[in-house]
């Protein structure tokens, strides 16, 4: 099963490209949709023992490397499946040109393989390679339409991404020198006896991941890249890609390799708190829907980070749960933004207004996702924030707990601004003839907001998923 998760998409990618030209776009779309759906179902059901990971034993000799699935991997597999599915649905309707669409599916294939790889890897350098594969395909995805702005966003992302690579590779070199290898077991074994330079290596790698995940003050590229990316790309980018290469890898690293030392905890807490506050404040001042969502993304990553910074099991569960929630509601919000942009041709909050009357489904779903992000009960986002705050409080980080609560008010403030400017109030002149988006755009939004509500309502069972 483990190998299938990366080889099936790979083989499918190759096969799809061998097809006659006419068949390519539709077949690649359908195949990828199928794979994503299968992956989501697998990841959702696997923890309950409903699907067995079959045939995982003998394959190792064939490929000669280890891919291990644990519950953390399933989390990323699930998020990648759900978000990829939604992005693909959005892409099918918002990308008009067939070639562009085909290129998008191809790159999404690569992203999917990359993320699946990341979820199962047990080697620091292989992790880096997969992260880089994701990054390269992301640069290209941002430039899918070759829009004027997109060059700027892609270049900023590229430059900071190389800086991140430099940090991570230096750290890998230090690990080779002071631990004698790059696989998780080797590093973990020798980390105990290592000195200051190994600790610097850890810090460097974490900083590289911070850049990839867009935490303050490493976040400069994030808002520009998200804003300038085409609609379906920003769905997948904000929903899971940067989180997979940044935050997820960090969780993996912390749990499997380096553990929680007081210094790491402090680092996570401080960076997390700064990200929460700065991200939320920056989002408050935005006029562009996507940019606002991008900054909100930074702030939400901060929440995950402070939860990790507790260093407790509960904190870890909270972080994982928030990771999933964020994947769901943020990709949904970007899907909504895509629908708004598609129908009105504008993302500027100043020129929108009263859209809830014209686009009721988009209005309600985006309200649900916004409120979930802000941690308004009983939506799923509330539960993860509750867990984060409890985790912070129980582990004695009262100051950070208070920051987390206050910042969730800020979150509420900027989302209310968004709702008020875009969806409430008088129907502005510009949108007076707007109609609801097409069904294809709405399906992911409705699906994802149903998930938000559903996860909130069956929270007890969801949390069991993570406790396992």
């Amino acid at each position: 099963m483990n190998y299938l998760l990366i080889f099936v998409p790979f083989i499918a990618l190759v096969l799809v490209n061998l097809l006659p030209k006419k068949l390519r776009p539709i077949s690649s779309f359908l195949v990828l949709l199928l794979i994503l759906a299968a992956q989501s179902i697998f990841a959702a059901l696997a923890p309950f023992g409903l699907i067995r990971a079959v045939g995982a034993v003998r394959m190792e000799h064939l490929f000669g490397f280890h891919l291990l699935i644990d519950n953390l991997s399933l989390l990323l597999l699930l998020s990648a499946g759900i978000v990829g599915f939604s992005a693909l649905m959005v892409a099918w309707h918002s990308i008009k040109d067939e070639d562009d669409r085909f290129n998008f599916t191809n790159l999404l294939f690569i992203l999917l393989i990359g993320m699946n790889g990341i979820s199962m890897l047990r080697d620091l350098f292989s992790l880096y390679v997969f992260i880089e594969a994701i990054a390269v395909s992301t640069f290209i995805m941002i430039l899918l339409y070759k829009a004027r702005e997109a060059y700027e966003g892609a270049l900023k992302y590229l430059i900071l991404s190389v800086v991140a690579s430099v940090m991570m590779l230096s750290s890998i070199a230090l690990f080779i020198m002071f631990c004698g290898g790059t696989s998780f077991e080797v590093i973990k074994l020798s980390l105990v006896s290592s000195g200051a330079l190994a600790r610097i290596a850890i810090a460097l790698f974490i900083c590289g991941l911070f850049i990839k995940g867009g935490l303050v003050p490493f976040h400069g590229w994030l808002a520009d890249a998200y804003t300038s990316a085409p609609a379906p790309v920003s769905v997948v980018l904000a929903g899971v890609v940067t989180k997979a290469s940044g935050i997820f890898t960090l969780i993996r690293l912390l749990t499997a390799v380096i553990g929680f030392s007081p210094a790491t905890k402090d680092l996570l807490l401080i960076i997390g708190a700064i990200s929460i506050v700065i991200g939320a404040l920056a989002a408050l001042g935005q006029k562009d829907i996507k940019r606002m969502l991008a900054y909100s993304s930074i702030s939400q990553m901060g929440y995950i980070l402070v939860a990790l910074g507790c260093g407790t099991r509960l904190g870890l569960i909270a972080a994982a749960f928030h990771f999933l929630n964020h994947a769901i509601f943020k990709s949904q919000l970007f899907a909504n933004a895509a629908a708004v942009e598609e129908q009105t041709g504008s993302r500027d909050l100043g020129s929108l207004g009263g859209l809830a009357q014209k686009m009721p489904v988009t209005g309600i779903t985006s309200a649900i996702a916004s409120l979930s992000t802000a941690g308004i009960p009983p939506l799923s986002g509330f539960w993860s924030k509750l867990l984060i705050i409890i985790a912070l409080w129980v582990s004695g980080n009262y100051f950070y707990a208070v920051i987390a609560v206050l910042a969730s008010l800020l979150t509420l403030a900027y989302f209310l601004t968004l709702q008020r400017e875009a969806f409430f109030g008088q129907v502005s002149v510009k949108v007076s003839s707007v109609t609801e988006a097409s069904a294809g755009m709405l399906i992911p939004a409705v699906l994802l907001s149903a998930m938000t509500v559903g996860l909130g309502l069956v929270f007890p069972f969801v949390i069991k998923y993570f406790v396992r």
């Binding site: 850890i202 030392s261 308004i376 409890i390 800020l410 069991k464």
Partner: protein
């Protein structure tokens, strides 16, 4: 059994959500059936004691339910209202849109409320508590087209207070080292006080007290009427006061002299007065009632806040009484709306003849809420007065004043709606039996609980306090004759005031003018009028001014919710925006600086 009462409405709700709108009668059947079965189960469960715990998530979060006399009593009340209101909804909502959603939310509300009452674990309770918020959101949003904004407003206000509740629960849990409610007993000092206040905010916000009330009047206009009868008037109140009583009596060791008690009483007194003054100037049937729904909570909070047996028993008794007469009032409003098509008081009038049964039910409920003996509101209010007087005359004064205004506003309401004339009055017919039956039953209960008050007090309320009752029995007639006398005087004053008001202004209730300006009467009371005129006018001016001020306060609360955050953070925001210059070099420098700081941190720790 204990699980069944949660699961039954839950499943019924989910089923009715799936029933398409075309199939008429199916959803109604499901709702009626499940609520009546629920009522039977609740009756069977009554007087039982069950503890039910299965270990669950770890971290002290267990699937733990506890049935004892208090929760059984609330359970019974919820089931009763559920049955009555589902019967009413069948008639009221027949043929409207989005019925499957309405019944689904309604049944889910009942299910979550049952769960919240039964839960013996704070986190589990919070879970059900939040479920209610979702159904609240859903209920409002299926109303009118503009309901979207109101729904968000309600969601945000209740959501924020629930955040407080959540913090309170986290704090309580860490202070008490357990989330199991029956094992918590904390002092209210230091962090304990903070925890109590946080939990209290959640509880009184659910009950709809000031300053968390402002969504209720809006929702009164936008949401379907049975929703108002069940959510703000009955179930939320029951839950909020239930939880407030639980935290004040069980979870925390409160004593009468404490600051917390003072805080509760102040909130109660302010809520009574401010909301009732707002009610006085309303011109819409439902909106007027919804402000009373807020004001009556004040009595309960005041009663429980006194922390003396008379007050607590009074508060709880008032809770059940209020649920009765307030839902009866809302139902009467719905009946009027159904028959006349409007709730605007200036368009209503003369309905008393055309809708006699509704009128009688309204009168019963109105005199109950005004505290006229021997109806139920009278007895519970007397107890609250008794308790309040024990703690300070100022609270007593507030309660009595509130009573005065309550009576005055209901006189106005009844006068405007049921007496006099209007264009539509003659064409109006009495409502159908399914609408009348719940009203009659509830009105009957109002009388029963008043005339034979030992029944509710002995069977339902006094066991809750147990040893804290100090052996006293509040059943029967009130013991303090002076308080009764004052009450009667106040009621008489209200009637007088109404009479003068109608005489003086003649507005809103214009149909009654000719009686008051009849030649013989006006000369007889000329002198009295001259003497009474000025204080009354000034009084009314002050009242108006206060009402306007309160309106401003109301607006200000809205403003804080919506604007102030933006204003305060604007400076920060613009500074941050300025620093994001779009220059990639800057971003690289930030990253490097961040990495440097990280490395230094790692090295020095």
């Amino acid at each position: 059994m204990i699980i069944a009462i949660i699961l039954l409405p839950l499943i019924a709700g989910l089923i009715s959500l799936m029933v398409p709108d075309r199939l008429k009668g199916v959803k109604e059947g499901i709702a009626l059936f499940s609520t009546i079965i629920g009522l039977i189960i609740a009756a069977l469960l009554f007087k039982q004691n069950i503890m039910f715990t299965i270990p669950w998530l770890g971290f002290g979060i267990d699937l733990s339910f506890r049935l004892y006399h208090f929760s059984a009593f609330i359970l019974l009340a919820i089931a009763g209202f559920g049955a009555a209101i589902s019967l009413y909804s069948v008639a009221f909502m027949w043929g409207k849109e989005k019925l499957n959603q309405f019944y689904a939310y309604f049944l889910l509300t009942v299910a979550f409320a049952n769960g919240a009452v039964l839960a013996n674990n704070l986190i589990l309770m919070l879970f059900f508590w939040e479920g209610l918020l979702l159904t609240l959101f859903g209920m409002i949003i299926i109303g009118k087209k503009e309901a979207f904004k109101t729904a968000i407003k309600a969601f945000v206000i209740v959501g924020i207070t629930d955040l407080c509740l959540m913090l309170g629960i986290a704090l309580t849990g860490s202070l008490a080292d357990t989330f199991t409610m029956s094992m918590i007993s904390l002092p209210t000092s230091g962090l304990g006080a903070l925890a109590f206040v946080l939990l209290m905010i959640g509880a009184i916000a659910k009950a709809g007290s000031m300053p968390f009330h402002s969504w209720i009047p809006d929702a009164a206009l936008d949401a379907p009427l049975p929703f108002m009868a069940i959510m703000p008037a009955a179930i939320e109140k029951l839950l909020g006061i239930y939880f407030l009583t639980r935290i004040s009596l069980d979870l925390f060791r409160l004593n009468p002299g404490s600051k917390i008690s003072l805080l509760l009483m102040t909130i109660g007194a302010l809520t009574i007065l401010l909301a009732v003054m707002m009610a006085l100037i309303q011109k819409d049937y439902k909106r007027l009632l919804s402000y009373h729904a807020i004001s009556q909570v004040g009595y309960m909070i005041l009663g429980i806040g006194t922390m003396v047996p008379a007050g607590i028993v009074g508060g709880l008794f008032h809770m059940i009484n209020n649920a009765l007469y307030k839902s009866c009032l809302f139902l009467s409003g719905g009946s009027v709306e159904k028959q006349t098509g409007t709730t605007d008081l200036s368009k209503l009038g003369g309905l008393g003849k055309q809708m006699p049964i509704t009128f009688i039910c309204f009168i019963v409920a109105a005199v109950s809420i005004s505290g006229v003996p021997p109806f139920n509101g009278f007895f519970s209010k007397e107890m609250i007065y008794d308790g309040a007087l024990e703690r300070g005359w100022i609270f007593y004064l507030a309660a009595v004043l509130g009573s005065f205004f309550t009576a005055a506003s209901f006189l106005k309401l009844g006068h405007a709606a049921y007496f006099g004339k209007s264009e539509t009055a003659n064409k109006t017919k009495e409502a159908s039996w399914a609408i009348l039956l719940p009203m009659i039953v509830i009105a009957g209960l109002c009388v029963l609980f008043g005339v034979y008050n030992p029944l509710p007090l002995h069977a339902l309320i006094q066991p809750v306090l147990g040893a804290k009752l100090e052996g006293r029995d509040f059943a029967g007639l009130p013991t303090n004759a002076i308080i009764v006398l004052i009450t009667l005087v106040v009621l008489a004053a209200a009637v007088l005031n109404h009479w003068f008001g109608v005489r003086r202004t003649g507005k809103g209730i214009g149909a009654a003018d000719h009686i008051h300006y009849a030649p013989g009467l006006s000369q007889t009371y000329d002198l009295a009028e001259k003497r009474y005129f000025d204080p009354y006018d000034i009084g009314m001016k002050i009242a108006n001014w206060l009402a306007k001020l309160l309106n401003a306060v109301d607006k200000a609360i809205d403003w804080i919710y919506e604007k102030l955050t933006v204003g305060v953070t604007f400076a920060f925001t613009s500074a941050i925006r300025w620093s994001h210059s779009g220059n990639v070099s800057t971003y690289v420098v930030w990253s490097l600086a961040g990495a440097a700081v990280a490395i230094i941190m790692v090295l020095i720790r």
